[in-house]
């Protein structure tokens, strides 16, 4: 019997999760194919929730499909699209559907997504959402009413090691731990010194930190990340490395870079694991892990 994600976080020396995104539409064939490849290899399959505020099939339904296909789902839950009633009823729904792990996020603003005219909700923030999960786990709803049957979620959150400035990020990081986060997945890390600086400052004792690994596929993608994704910094030496190989070999070079990061984080014992985001190339997660061995 495979370990649950919670068990993996407390017993394994190095935890690996991978991120998948539900389809825009009802065709789940590709998602299911990825799950069949990833299950058994990774400790958790993290399912995005209308990522970048782009409307997709719900994370909740996709998590259930992951579970049915033999994977260990981690439900991403954002505060962008649901008020506190909807968040609670979706969490209870997730529990009865067998989902045990939840990643509590604020969520990207609707303004940057594909429905910019939508009403952003943000009734709670990510810290309050973590507290809410703790309340439900303790058998109470947010208004103090008793639940008839309580969940027992393993809750986590996100953190950006390269945030500039870092201090406000650390303030929120500490609040998230107080609010009940047991694991963190970080924003993409490419510069290990930056990660070390963050870990030195954050002193994250008692929680599992999964360093975010993004698969680079081209110098252009790296530049895009640098210019558009807050707190993400791809050093020039990696961009040059990608640019120095012929186009058809760039994906392989990106896999090699990701594998080197995974290996360094593992061998230097920087974090308890990694969270791999191979956006649009999720099938390459296995190759990254293989190359990192």
């Amino acid at each position: 019997m495979a370990l649950t994600f919670r068990e993996a976080c407390s017993t394994k020396s190095f935890v690996v999760t991978a991120e998948v995104g539900p389809p825009k539409g009802t065709n789940v064939a590709h998602l299911m194919e990825l799950v069949s490849k990833l299950r058994g290899t990774v400790d958790g399959i993290n399912v995005t929730d209308n990522q970048s505020a782009v409307m997709k099939l719900s994370s909740l339904a996709a998590c259930r499909l992951v579970l049915e296909a033999g994977g260990e789902p981690i439900l991403q839950l954002t505060c962008r699209d649901r008020n506190r009633l909807a968040l609670q009823s979706d969490l209870l729904a997730a529990w009865v559907l067998g989902i045990r792990n939840v990643l509590c996020l604020t969520g990207d603003h609707v303004r940057i997504g594909d429905h910019p005219a939508a009403k952003p909700v943000f009734d709670l923030d990510s810290v309050q959402l973590l507290q809410l999960v703790g309340r439900l786990n303790a058998g109470q709803d947010l208004a103090g009413n008793s639940l008839d049957g309580a969940p027992n979620f393993f809750a986590g959150a996100a953190v950006t090691p390269g945030a500039d400035p870092l201090e406000p990020q650390l303030l929120k990081f500490r609040k998230k731990i107080v609010a009940g986060a047991k694991f963190f997945q970080t924003q993409a890390v490419f510069d290990l010194d930056e990660l070390k600086r963050f870990l030195d400052r954050a002193q994250p004792d008692g929680v599992t930190i999964l360093a975010g690994i993004v698969l680079l596929v081209s110098p252009r993608m790296a530049q895009f990340l640098n210019e558009n994704i807050p707190g993400v910094f791809v050093p020039d030496r990696l961009i040059d490395r990608l640019a120095s190989v012929p186009k058809e070999k760039r994906l392989n070079e990106g896999i090699r870079i990701a594998a080197e990061l995974v290996r360094a984080i593992r061998d230097q014992g920087l974090c308890q694991g990694v969270h791999i985001m191979a956006i649009g190339r999720e099938e390459k997660v296995l190759e990254i892990l293989h190359a990192a061995e």
Binding site: C79, R80, R84, T106, D108, H109, R111, I112, P120, F122, D123, L124, D125, S126, V127, Q128, Q131, L142, A158, T160, A163, D164, P165, E167, P168, Q169, L171, K172, R174, K175, V178, A179, Q187, P230, G231
Partner: protein, 221 residues
């Protein structure tokens, strides 16, 4: 003050073109300050509409009047006995003023000439910026005089989101990240402890829309 901007002329024209007698009613307080609907702007709007009427061969008489405010009944008096002469009223008040006018003169169609934007301040000549969402529970005591409900695009209460970037906001890189500002200001003041504790979710029941407040019932409570 309330800040508004004028609707596009085409939109206003589409509303008022069927009326042969039109009264443009200005609002001389907030709307004069934000240069959207005071005396000068009413004169410009009425002139533009008259020119458009002439150009399009529309027979329309357009008059103007500016009230000190449209959110207080005492200032409506000059309109009594006047409104009956017009087929429609075009108001350059904020949404509150337009509605108050419509309540007073039920028999005449009232049209808004402005889009009301926010409660704000004058940042520079001709530049206004939002500062308050009128949420009903002021938090400025704990956030260094910077409102997270209004100044953070997500209204977050416990620190910045992951979209904050070098002190700017993910929604609009021209705008400051409210939580970076709050942090830095409290740091300067030596009062960071104010935001170290977790702030609970807002209580939206303190202000159920539409809001109403009476001094008398407040005293009775």
């Amino acid at each position: 003050m309330i800040v508004a901007r004028r609707k596009p002329l085409e939109e206003i024209e589409a509303n008022i073109q069927g009326f042969s007698r039109l009264l443009v009613v200005g609002c001389g307080t907030c709307m004069a300050v934000c240069q959207a609907g005071g005396e000068k702007e009413v004169e410009i709007l009425a002139t533009q509409l008259r020119m458009r009427a002439r150009l399009t061969g529309r027979k329309q008489k357009i008059d103007e009047i500016v009230l000190p405010r449209q959110c207080d009944r005492e200032f409506f008096e000059p309109l009594d006995g006047l409104v009956g002469n017009y087929g429609a009223i075009l108001s350059t008040a904020c949404g509150a003023g337009v509605q108050f006018l419509a309540e007073r003169f039920e028999e005449v169609p009232i049209f808004p000439a402005l889009d009301t934007l926010f409660i704000g301040v004058t940042e520079a000549p001709g530049v206004w910026a939002e500062r308050c969402s009128a949420c009903g529970k002021c938090l400025l005591d704990m956030t260094g005089g910077i409102c997270p409900v209004t100044m953070c695009a997500k209204g977050l209460l416990n620190g910045p989101c992951g979209g904050t970037n070098r002190g700017k906001c993910e929604v609009d890189p021209q705008k400051d990240c409210a939580w970076t500002r709050i942090y830095r200001r409290l740091e300067r003041l030596g009062r960071l402890r104010l935001i170290e504790q977790i702030t609970p979710p807002r209580d939206h029941s303190v202000l159920v829309r539409p809001g109403r407040y009476s001094l008398q019932s407040a005293a009775e409570e």
